[in-house]
Symmetry: C2
Subunit: 217 residues, 2 copies
C-alpha cells in the first residue's frame, strides 16, 4: 500500500501494535487517546516508535486518510462520537474491534447474532467504507507475524470491494494473505472467532495462536 496518513483510534495493546506496524511500514501514524497530555506512559511508548505521533481521537480521525478503530469494542460508538463522525466521512475505516462482554464468567459477544460490531460501525459511518480486519489475531501478530509456513490468511469482511482490495494490499505488506469472507454482516462470525480464540488461549495458557487454513497435500 502506498504511504498513507493513518489515524488509530485507541491506544491500548491493539492500537499500539497497529500504530507501530503501520509506522514500521513507512506510514505516517497518529495514535489517538482521550487526553494526550495526561498520558505519559503513551508518550514514553511513542518516543520509542519513529513515525508515530500522539493526538486526540479527533486529531487522529481528522488527520488520517485511513482510520483504524482499535478501542474496546463496547466503547467504539462513543469513541467515534468523541472523534467526530464527520472526520470519517469518505474514508476507509478499518474496524479491528470486538464487542466483548467480559462481565460474565467467560467472554461473550455484547451484541446479538443478528448484528455485529462491524455492522454497527458501518451504520454509524454511512459515508465510510468499513472493512473488518485484524480482529481475529493477537496484537503481537498483527504486523509481520513471523508465523511458520506463512503468509497465513487474515479474514476480512466489508461491503466495498475496492476498500477490501486496498486492505488486501495492506495485509500483504503486513505479512498476511487477505481472505475476503463477504459483506460486513460476516463480522458476526469474525467476531465470534475471537470468542474461540480466547477459549483456546485459556486452555493453552498462551496467546500467540492464530487461526489459519489447511488443505490436503
Amino acid at each position: 500500500m502506498e504511504p498513507t496518513r493513518v489515524g488509530v483510534i485507541g491506544s491500548g495493546q491493539v492500537g499500539r501494535a497497529l500504530a507501530a506496524g503501520f509506522a514500521a511500514h513507512g506510514h505516517e501514524v497518529t495514535i489517538g487517546t482521550r487526553d494526550p497530555a495526561a498520558n505519559e506512559e503513551l508518550q514514553a511508548w511513542a518516543a520509542q516508535h519513529d513515525g508515530v505521533a500522539i493526538g486526540t481521537f479527533a486529531a487522529a480521525a481528522e488527520g488520517g486518510e485511513l482510520v483504524v478503530l482499535a478501542t474496546r469494542g463496547t466503547a467504539v460508538e462513543e469513541a467515534i462520537r468523541t472523534a467526530g463522525t464527520q472526520h470519517f466521512a469518505g474514508k476507509l475505516v478499518i474496524d479491528a474491534t470486538n464487542p466483548l462482554d467480559l462481565s460474565g464468567g467467560g467472554p461473550a459477544l455484547a451484541v446479538g447474532h443478528t448484528d455485529s460490531g462491524g455492522e454497527i460501525v458501518q451504520r454509524a459511518l454511512p459515508e465510510s467504507r468499513v472493512v473488518k480486519a485484524f480482529n481475529t489475531v493477537n496484537a503481537g501478530l498483527m504486523v509481520d507475524p513471523g508465523l511458520p509456513g506463512g503468509p497465513h490468511p487474515m479474514f476480512i469482511a466489508g461491503n466495498d470491494e475496492p476498500a477490501k482490495a486496498t486492505v488486501g494490499e495492506l495485509l500483504a505488506d503486513f505479512g498476511w494473505t487477505a481472505v475476503d469472507v463477504g459483506p460486513i454482516e460476516r463480522a458476526r462470525e469474525l467476531e465470534s472467532l475471537v470468542i474461540l480464540w480466547v477459549a483456546i488461549g485459556q486452555r493453552r495458557g498462551a496467546w500467540d495462536h492464530a487461526f489459519t487454513l489447511v488443505t490436503p497435500a
Copy 2:
C-alpha cells in the same frame, strides 16, 4: 476409544462420513434414516461399508451406546423426537450439526447468538452429555483427514468433562487433536465458524479447507 456401538442420526453426507469413519475404526455402526426400506440408495452405499447397518432413527438411537446427530441443523429437534428422546438418556451424544438458514443470499445461523444448536440439543436431552464436535470441518475431512502437518485441532464444546475426554480419545483415533473450547454455549462460536468456512469456500471454489492453529516457531 474402545470399540463401541454407534448410532448415527442422519444419512446425508455428514452422517455417511461419520458412519463410515466409525466403522473403519472398528466400531459397530447403525446409520439411521427415516424410512430404511425405501432408501435404496443408502442401502447400496451401506453394502459397500463393512460394519455399517441401516435402521430407523429410533433403532440407531436405541442401539447406540454413543449417538451422533448428523441431520440438517434445523431438523435436529424433530429428528430427536422421531428417534425417541428416551433413547438418548444417559448417553454420550455428539452433535455435528449446524443450524444453517440457507433461505437468504448466503448462509446464516438460524438461531440467534444468545443460543446455539448445541445448547438446544443439550436442553432437549437433559439427561445426555452433549459434546459439540465435527461441525467445523468438511465431511470428507472428518475422519483421517490426511492434512499436512497434522494432527490438526478439532474444536469441541460441552458441559461434561469426562464426555469431552472421551470425544478427545475418539478424535485422536480419527487423526485430530481435540481442542476443548469450553461449555456448550461455545457452540455459538463453533457454529459461527462454519459460516466463515462457507464464505471462504465460496471464494475458493473448493471445499477441502479446514481451520487450524498456527503459532510462532
